[in-house]
């Protein structure tokens, strides 16, 4: 595997819109708000940007074909080198990775990376667009719904490790409560484990409060090469490791209890960053949490806990905050995650990258973790239980 990188790359600005079930703004307008905020906080204008990387999930959500090109001028791509990347839900972390390639290669000095999703255009619910991910011959005729594979995966995780719903529900409690301090949050709330267990059963064992909602929103970061980053800010946040890995679409031929593809992506990123003992060397992490059990699943893939042990010492609410709360042993999803802030597919992963950026700069306000974080990890996941994307950031 490669180990020599041409140039160091830093994140120097970040921007984000509100995440809501339904926003008036078009996808382009949402992208503009996030991109402009990222440029403003980096202290630069669009003229300084050399290239733009766009991350956005299927055209079917916004309902516009060639969606990257459609969003282009709202993302500042007017007459610039512009490329759209997409790996399902992994996109939000893959977008800064692709932007990293642009800068680390020596090809560009300043790159704007914008992720956007407007799922409300798909009416009345984006579920119909989601189901086209399934094989038209093998799976759709059975009446498949996307929540099915999460339920089958959650069931497998619980079965192999003997983890109980009560333990998993504490993650939903933690993240929704953390989100109360996120200004963009869609579903922040003070709920209890009992609320989760009493909520409507969707696809057993998945219940309503185990899931994050579809959302509209956008988020963006500005990446700069070392010599430029040092000029722009006293506080660059270095991207020290990137990793990505995909598994096959034959998801019924794999054991779903453990996301190997997340582990391989994490190994790639950790090797680059020189991380040998993840739980000790990582101060704060934002694993992808579209469902509560996913935080555990992915944290184990990120090797922050051994397989099946993420919730080993967690029996109730107080345990989860003690282990993984903002004041806890290892803060996980201090932003409130997808469960609390919202899930506009591509923008959600980018939200996590923005969060690590703010956490490492001590700019996260009420969400700030107290352990003086120097190294943070953001991770996203996507498609048919296939994609792992990981970014390690350090100050």
């Amino acid at each position: 595997m490669m180990s020599s990188v041409k140039r160091r790359v830093a994140v120097v600005g970040a921007g984000i819109t509100l995440f809501r079930r339904r926003l008036k703004e078009t996808g382009r307008e949402l992208s503009f708000y996030a991109a402009k905020m990222a440029l403003d906080t980096a202290g630069i204008t669009l003229r300084d940007v050399d290239a733009v990387v766009c991350g956005t999930a299927p055209d079917a959500f916004d309902g516009v074909h060639m969606k990257g090109e459609y969003l282009l001028d709202g993302m500042g791509g007017h007459r610039k080198p512009f490329v759209r990347v997409y790996v399902g839900g992994g996109t939000g972390v893959f977008t800064p990775i692709a932007a990293w390639w642009h800068v680390a290669s020596g090809h560009f000095d300043i790159v704007l990376a914008v992720a956007e999703e407007k799922m409300s255009s798909c009416y009345p619910h984006p579920q119909k667009a989601f189901t086209t991910i399934f094989d038209p011959m093998l799976t759709r005729p059975l009446g498949a719904n996307l929540v099915w594979i999460f339920a089958l995966e959650m069931q497998r995780y619980m079965h192999v490790h003997g983890v109980k719903k009560e333990q998993i529900a504490t993650i939903a409690v933690k993240n929704k409560r953390n989100a109360l301090d996120h200004p963009c949050a869609q579903l922040a709330a003070k709920i209890t484990v009992q609320d989760v267990l009493n909520s409507e059963v969707m696809v057993w064992p998945v219940q309503r409060l185990d899931i994050s909602p579809p959302s509209d929103g956008a988020a963006a970061v500005v990446l700069a090469a070392e010599h430029v980053a040092k000029r722009l800010t006293d506080d660059p946040v270095w991207i020290e490791g990137v990793g990505w890995c995909l598994d096959s679409t034959y998801w019924t031929n794999r054991d779903l209890y453990y996301p190997k593809y997340v582990e391989y992506a994490a190994r790639m990123a950790y090797k680059m960053a020189g991380i040998k003992n993840p739980p000790k060397e990582i101060d704060v992490a934002e694993p992808y949490d579209p469902f509560d059990y996913k935080e555990a699943h992915h944290a184990e893939g990120l090797m922050l806990a051994r397989k099946g042990e993420y919730l080993k010492d967690v029996k109730d609410e107080s345990d989860i905050f003690a282990r993984y709360g903002r004041d806890g042993d290892l803060p996980i999803c201090p932003s409130g995650g997808l469960l609390g802030v919202g899930n506009p597919i591509a923008a959600a992963g980018m939200m996590k990258v923005c969060e690590i950026f703010w956490q490492l700069r001590k700019e996260a306000g009420k969400r700030q973790v107290k352990n003086d974080p120097r190294t943070g990890v953001a991770q996203a996941w996507g498609d048919l239980m296939q994609v792992g994307t990981v970014v390690v950031m350090r100050v």
Binding site: R21, R22, L23, K24, G63, Y123, P124, H125, Q127, K128, T131, P136, M137, L138, T139, R140, P141, L142, G143, A144, N145, V147, W148, A151, L152, E153, Q155, R156, H159, E200, V201, M202, V203, W204, P205, V206, S248, Y250, T252, N253, R254, D255, L256
Partner: protein, 163 residues
């Protein structure tokens, strides 16, 4: 803004329903798989390099990245690897009667090689990982060459029928 804002016209919107019709080519492997389902059989492909028998069959092995070597019939019995009880339909609509779905490792296919299907003639509470099941087929004259030629899998009495 809320869904009511749209439905009650408080926010101006534009509605559209693009028409997208497809005739997906089944491909060589799936073409045979569907044809065999019509005959009441489940067929897989073997890769001699890794030794796996793959269902659904494919003409290439994604692990070894080489063409697969031969057709292999597998049994229509198997073991539940994971399962779920769905109250949601494909458009996220609420179902009155839940659907029980499972990933079933088929006898004759390699370990861990499963297919997705429904379970029937069983109460949700009775389903468990490791349960032995058998396919219930549509009568021959009703089969079309589709995954739905199998109606569902039902529990095997006494756990028999395996290798």
């Amino acid at each position: 803004m809320s869904r009511k804002d749209i439905e009650e016209g408080r926010v101006p919107t534009f509605k559209d329903k693009p028409e997208a019709r497809y005739a997906w080519a089944a491909g060589v492997a799936m073409g045979r798989f569907l044809a065999e389902l019509k005959e009441g059989r489940i067929i897989g492909r073997r890769c001699r390099a890794c030794g796996r028998v793959l269902v659904p069959p494919r003409m290439f092995c994604e692990w070894c990245f080489r063409p697969t070597d031969e057709w292999v019939y597998v049994r229509d019995t198997g073991t539940v690897l994971t399962y779920s009880i769905s109250y949601l339909g494909p458009a996220a609509e609420r179902l009155k009667e839940p659907v029980i779905i499972a990933v079933i490792e088929l006898d004759g296919a390699s370990p861990g090689i499963g297919i997705l299907h429904k379970l029937g003639e069983v109460k949700p509470e009775a389903v468990h990982v490791g349960m032995r099941v058998k396919a219930v087929w549509k009568p021959p004259e009703e089969r079309e060459g589709a995954i739905t030629d199998i109606l569902y899998f039902k529990p095997l009495e006494g756990g028999g029928g395996g290798e």
